[in-house]
Subunit: 349 residues, 2 copies
């Protein structure tokens, strides 16, 4: 744990409970392992929640939104104004995450981490704005060290503010025109993958736009490329990414289950894990995005996403869809009959 | 359509509605295509239901159960008695499909298609038993032509019996110790893939058991290998597989959405499509099973499964989990705001 950030250390998940969960899974009326990935998923939630009666209680989705100075360089298919417009769409109920949250009984919170605009007032909007967008990281650090640490702490504070006592499941999402550019540089700095392999089309750049994004990010990486995660985050990150890192560290310290969304949130998880490796014990990776570099980053983290259906929207949308698989896993774990209880014969060969 | 079976021809899905659905998807507040596979899925349901206001109404899961003469040759890791025991577990509420049906508001029906035992009486049990298990197909046809045609017709009749007017979504599952052996031979006969590539571990055979299963099926294939689908089905099929084929033909003729489960149900779908190719318009393939040959069969059918999480249980369990993705797709399609309605800027590059 980096000194001075003031984050509680994240406890490891309970491996004894995880083993007991696997023993229980093998007693249920199905061939061993026949529920596939739902089995280790159920066992992970048991290990996180320290119980053999796991449950999703008061699930919340928190979407952090912010703008990026680099967006003015044409690294996104959409204009910068869309960040603010989409915040209003989230709150108005018309965005994908709004719909999915309603469908699945997820409480939705939107955090203005640094939107370059006025998001107004709304009971589901948290004003945690650090600044109206980051600086252009091609020329200077995106944020100061103080802003970065402030964003990390505010990310944790938001979790403490919105998650009620007993709430145990967090879906993390983001919105920020230009943030896959920031995320690509962060992945490059964290993992050492060649920059070109970290850069994708984001919301849908054409070939020319992709080339522009690559050359813009290469210029930024030539300016500096710190190895230390908080310094890297300050150089290239966004306020929403820094708050995601803080939220991950804070929620894991509270032993919450965290359902991670796509590329940008996974980059935040990779940063959080570099600060405190136990964070990953609490993370379920909801899906593999169609954003170019996500698959390689998931492989680096040695984690397997639940869904692989070509989503690339952000907002927490892939994680929200994946929550239904977590619910299925826990329902099966807690409600299926045992061989003994149901009078079913066990394996004979 | 084969003469004499008396099945109504399956109408093609509505391609004009599918195109209109894609246009609507492109007007929603997300980059085009950013919902990945959920987009063509929503458009498919629109084309099936002939509406731009698609919905899942009264979803039902129908699990067909039967025994197989070949099971006495040790081609399964479980004893034959498990078929009957699991039928009772389904009805008692302790099986995976029982739990998933409860969690997702799916009405569950179990069909005794040919169980070698007495399944008793239960309001959710349909007695459609043709015979107490098929004959051993290594030595003789598994069923007579009359039995096969009877099973096909009963499969359709079950759908008409259990699906209320307005019910529009069907999950198909199966239970039958030994039925991946039957399904492997059917796939071999239908597709021409080498038999060894069609044979897998089923519920969990060890290496020795897998070798025994392969050599047993090779002996059966040397006896005969008809090319015509109903003859092939009579030679090697199970009563549950034949009823699945009839259910698929009947439900598609009724324009129902059919969520297909794993390897055995996909073999039934491949047979049904050989009888009437339009059946596939109505099928959503819920998942790719860990059963060895499923991936190749899905590729042959040129379809993509929604989930790929290593499930291999049957019972309709993978399809039931996948229904949550269908619901998400339809919720997003019908409830998301448009760019114009939400005042969000469209793509700029």
């Amino acid at each position: 744990m980096r000194r001075g950030l003031g984050f509680d250390a994240v406890p490891a998940a309970d491996e004894a409970i995880r083993s007991a969960a696997h023993r229980r899974l093998d007693s249920l009326t199905k061939p061993p392992g026949a529920l596939g990935r739902l089995e280790p998923l159920a066992a992970q939630v048991c290990a996180v929640q320290r119980t053999l009666e796991p449950a999703i209680v008061h699930p919340a989705a928190v979407v952090f939104a912010a703008d990026h100075g680099v967006a003015d360089r044409g690294v996104s298919a959409y204009p910068r104004a869309v960040t603010e417009q989409m915040v209003k769409n989230f709150l108005g109920g018309g965005a994908a995450i709004s719909v999915l949250a309603r469908l699945q009984g997820i409480e939705l919170w939107i955090v203005d981490a640094g939107v370059d605009g006025d998001c107004g007032n709304h009971p589901r909007l948290i004003d945690a704005k650090v600044r109206r967008g980051t600086r252009d990281f091609v020329e200077q650090p995106a944020m100061t060290t103080e802003e970065c640490e402030q964003a990390l702490r505010r990310g944790r504070a938001v979790i403490d503010q919105v998650i009620p006592a007993g709430g145990n499941t967090l879906i993390l999402g983001e919105m920020g025109i230009g943030n896959t550019a920031a995320a690509a540089l962060l992945m490059h700095g964290l993992t050492g993958h060649p920059l070109a392999d970290c850069v994708g089309r984001g919301t849908g750049l054409d070939d020319e736009g992709l080339e522009r994004k690559r050359s813009t990010l290469a210029a930024a990486a030539r300016r500096t490329l710190p190895g230390e995660p908080v310094e890297l985050l300050a150089e290239f990150g966004g306020y929403e990414i820094a708050m995601l890192v803080g939220a991950l560290l804070g929620a894991a310290a509270r032993r919450m289950l965290i359902v991670v969304d796509g590329f940008t949130v996974t980059v935040a998880a990779a940063l959080a894990a570099r600060i405190d490796e136990n964070v990953l014990d609490y993370c379920v990776f909801g899906h593999c995005s169609a954003e170019h570099a996500h698959r390689a980053l998931l492989a680096d983290l040695e984690v397997q996403p639940l869904l692989d259906i070509g989503m690339r929207l952000g907002e927490g949308s892939g994680a929200a869809v994946a929550l239904s698989l977590v619910r299925a896993a826990l329902g099966l774990f807690t409600q299926m009959a045992t061989f003994e209880g149901a009078g079913v014969s066990e394996k004979s060969t």
